[in-house]
């Protein structure tokens, strides 16, 4: 935002970081991401409370027991919360775009992804979106076993 101290002769030392990471997915996350590459979205069910966790987790965070079943969810679901970004943030996508938390049919929790829809008029787009609005997970043609292998669209 505003800078109260622009008129300064202070010395500044610049530096750039570039760091490469390789994150180990482990068996549960790995199964889920490989499923995405094959066009499947699956949650994990707790044998105790029957919660279907999305994103999938290897243990139930409420019952503290291992989850034991993969459950297909979606491809349709309901919007739970969203925002429409109008500002460019460094190293993040060019606006406008919709970030949407959707609860896919069969899941008990909501999963975030981009919701692709016309955004010529942001206010009008915001009025179209309400908790409960129906959405569908749509897979990309080229997939890479990543969460970006699909996105949401309005039904």
């Amino acid at each position: 935002m505003s800078d109260a101290t622009t008129a300064t002769e202070a010395l500044v030392v610049p530096e750039d970081w570039h760091i490469h990471y390789e994150y180990s997915a482990g068996p549960v996350v790995g199964h889920f991401l490989r499923g995405l590459a094959e066009g499947r979205i699956e949650g994990r069910r707790c044998p105790g409370c029957q919660m279907v966790w999305m994103p999938p987790r290897g243990y139930c965070e409420r019952c503290f027991v291992p989850t034991d079943t993969w459950v297909p969810v979606g491809p349709e679901g309901a919007l739970e919360a969203f925002t429409i970004v109008g500002q460019k943030f460094e190293n993040l996508p060019d606006p406008p775009y919709v970030i949407a938390f959707c609860r896919l049919d069969g899941a008990d929790t909501a999963l975030v992804n981009f919701l692709r829809m016309p955004l010529d008029d942001v206010a009008a787009a915001a009025r179209r979106l309400r908790p409960g609005t129906r959405v569908r997970a749509v897979f990309e043609d080229r997939r890479a076993a990543r969460i970006t292998d699909f996105h949401y669209e309005l039904v």
């Binding site: 109260a4 990471y21 994103p55 919360a81 500002q87 460094e90 993040l92 008990d108 929790t109």
Partner: protein
């Protein structure tokens, strides 16, 4: 659980908050606040038994684990020193840990200190995006602005809160900050200006959002024994609560949710603990000042509701009607609050500082006359950590 001994804040130190502090390196900034807090208490670093260092993500200022750099300058050499990090809630957690150090009876005099330089890199929101996991959530541009916007959408849907009510929060914060010489942003803005400011993330506009600030803050927390021996002025810590929740915001949505993204249930829980310790049963009547960690306008609405200063859903109308203005039953964010200065690593500590200053009659232009009880909150992570501290002019809890 009650405290083994009573403890209080006897010194407060802060720098001014602004985008850059080219006048000081990072540890020099922390040192300035620490020495100022000790000076108010009539102490020197030699009087300090332990240091709690308040530092959130270090990628803003660009030195991994910056507390290492600060040990010497803040007087931590040859003393126990721990760094606390609960995201935005860091300063609240650091104050809580400092209080626990003293209230346990194991340390008589604790320095809680930290600093941040959020604008040392160009876009803090990219770094904030890195708090999310690389498999499920990081790819979707989540950051503090977008997650606050998502909360606002939920609050609007659930309670009918409006963009105008959020704008009223910003107008009031900027106006109050005119009285605070340390505030980063201040001035007279109108509801229309807020509504017409550039869209950040719907429904939040630019003036609904806090700035990226640099600055430092510190408090000295002493045991009752030291306070009586030295005859110190004290802002007594009568209650401290904290609560953590899952990072996954999607777990806080849907019919089987335990808490809702549209409510600050985590703060409600933290406040319940602090209120119980402090004997607060009717917050709106018993609390005179609330310094809430509200980096976005919607968050102040959620905070006054979660603190029980009004009913759930009434926060927007209550603020717009002026119920929490100067002279009201409770004054909320008389300093201008987080919306007018957000040095992330210490913002929660700044809330504690501003609450303590009220009880020490040292708040200057934003002093709430005769304030007896104040509350300070902090929030962090994916709005998943909340802390709440109740301070009083008189001790009400623990053993004497």
């Amino acid at each position: 659980m009650s405290a083994a001994v009573r403890a209080a804040i006897v010194g407060v130190g802060e720098t001014a908050y602004r985008t850059h502090h080219p006048d000081a390196t990072y540890p020099e900034l922390a040192q300035a606040a620490g020495l100022a807090a000790l000076a108010m208490a009539g102490m020197t670093p030699a009087d300090v038994d332990a240091v709690v260092y308040s530092m959130a993500p270090t990628h803003f200022m660009g030195v991994t684990d910056a507390q290492l750099w600060a040990v010497g300058p803040v007087g931590g050499r040859h003393k126990p020193l721990m760094r606390l990090h609960t995201g935005g809630a860091t300063g609240g957690s650091a104050a809580e840990a400092g209080y626990h150090h003293a209230a346990s009876g194991l340390h008589d005099c604790v320095l809680v200190v930290g600093a941040d330089k959020v604008a040392e890199t160009r876009d803090a929101q990219f770094i904030l995006n890195l708090i999310w996991d690389p498999f499920f959530e990081r790819d979707f541009a989540l950051n503090t602005v977008t997650m606050a916007a998502i909360q606002a959408v939920r609050h609007m849907e659930q309670y009918g809160s409006t963009e105008e009510q959020m704008a009223e929060v910003a107008v009031r914060s900027w106006r109050r900050a005119k009285r605070n010489p340390r505030a980063h942003l201040r001035g007279d803005i109108s509801v229309a200006q807020v509504l017409e400011s550039p869209l950040m993330s719907w429904p939040l506009k630019r003036y609904d959002c806090c700035p990226r600030s640099s600055g430092a803050a510190a408090v000295v927390i002493a045991s009752e024994r030291v306070i009586r021996e030295r005859g110190l002025d004290a802002a007594w810590i009568n209650g401290a609560g904290a609560l953590a929740n899952t990072v996954f915001m999607g777990d806080r949505l849907g019919p089987r949710r335990l808490t809702d993204m549209g409510d600050w249930d985590e703060l409600r829980g933290a406040a319940a603990t602090a209120y119980r310790q402090a004997g607060i049963t009717d917050p709106a009547r018993q609390i005179d000042v609330a310094e809430t960690y509200a980096p976005f306008s919607i968050n102040e609405i959620m905070a006054v509701e979660a603190l029980g200063l009004c009913a759930a859903g009434e926060g927007g109308p209550a603020i717009a009607e002026g119920r929490f203005d100067e002279g009201g039953e409770v004054e909320v964010n008389p300093s201008g609050g987080t919306l007018c200065a957000n040095p992330i690593a210490v913002t929660g500590l700044v809330r504690v500082c501003d609450a303590a200053l009220q009880l020490l009659d040292r708040a200057g232009g934003y002093q709430v006359p005769g304030a007896q009880t104040a509350v300070a909150t902090a929030v962090g992570g994916s709005f998943q950590f909340q802390t709440c501290m109740v301070l009083g002019r008189e001790p009400t809890g623990g053993k004497s």
